[in-house]
């Protein structure tokens, strides 16, 4: 069975993604730092995204620029920024500079036996920046799950009573 991916909005300004990989930290780290490897997994086929170009100089002070195409977008989408810190096998920190309110992303690799726990942490400059990132991506959403429907029903009942 595959390892689960979890996402939590940890605070007003933070999102945290976690996942465990069945391999040592140096191997997982390698897949994040070599552009030819990064290119093979960063744009999942199931999301319809494909790389037009992938440049990444993964070392402290280096820069990256990813350009993607997506059938829903006529224009290619570019994502770029700087690596603030690259510590072999344990930590990568980078900026997201395609928008003024971009987050700072920190990825840590923690070896646990023959597995690696990966924690990806995104810190937005303000609550508003994260709220806006969410709001801008929230058009045409699918259902939010049964539990929330239940909560909404409860609230509607309360508000109308």
């Amino acid at each position: 069975m595959k390892n689960p991916t979890t996402v939590e909005r940890k605070s007003e300004r933070e999102l945290v993604v976690t996942r465990t990989f069945n391999g040592p930290a140096h191997i997982v780290f390698e897949a994040w730092t070599k552009p030819e490897l990064l290119k093979q997994w960063w744009a999942p086929k199931s999301f319809g995204i494909s790389f037009i170009s992938c440049e990444a100089d993964v070392r402290t002070g280096g820069t990256y620029r990813f350009v993607f195409s997506h059938p829903a977008s006529e224009q290619p989408m570019a994502f770029f920024g700087r690596y603030i810190e690259v510590t072999p096998h344990s930590r990568i920190v980078w900026t997201n500079e395609e928008s003024a309110d971009g987050a700072v992303t920190t990825v840590t690799f923690e070896e646990m036996g023959d597995k690696t726990l990966l924690v990806l942490h995104e810190l937005y400059p303000s609550k508003q920046a994260l709220d806006e990132a969410i709001a801008s991506g929230s058009t045409g959403t699918s259902g939010a799950g049964e539990q929330f429907e239940e909560l909404d029903t409860l609230l509607v009942t309360l508000v109308r009573s």
Binding site: T5, V7, R9, R19, F21, V28, W41, S138, A144, F148
Partner: protein
């Protein structure tokens, strides 16, 4: 296979959003706070309006609104010296949907990354054998 997968995703989704749900239900456990939601369901109101309506101090009302805001049930906006409160239900729903889509993106990426990790592991083992 398809059915098992969506079940799995739903379970995960519920697990990771439990803290927010707990906060929402905890916020609703208080009758004053339910009253505030009822009031905001009719019209937006300032903290001052709400404090007067519920015969409370401004500080007391700010605390209640704070709990509702933390749970994502109410949003507030300060314009000049007045803080206006409104129901935040839609935002809560949108946020949950967005977080789930964001999770699926990382999950899809990490499924691909799993394959690379497996390949690299194999390469290293083979490489070592060859050197021996």
């Amino acid at each position: 296979m398809q059915a098992a997968d969506s079940c799995y995703i739903l379970n995960l989704m519920v697990q990771c959003q439990q803290p927010q749900l707990d906060a929402s239900f905890a916020a609703l456990s208080d009758s004053t706070r339910r009253g505030i939601l009822e009031r905001l369901g009719r019209a937006d109101a300032s903290i001052t309006d709400l404090a007067q309506k519920f015969h409370m101090t401004l500080t007391g009302m700010k605390k209640h609104v704070g709990v509702l805001e933390q749970a994502g049930l109410v949003t507030t906006e300060k314009v000049g010296r007045v803080r206006t409160c409104k129901l935040g239900l839609r935002r809560l729903e949108e946020e949950a949907a967005w977080i789930e889509r964001y999770r699926r993106l990382w999950d899809a990426r990490f499924d691909e990354l799993d394959k690379i990790v497996a390949e690299l592991k194999l390469e290293k083992v083979d490489g070592r054998k060859m050197r021996k």
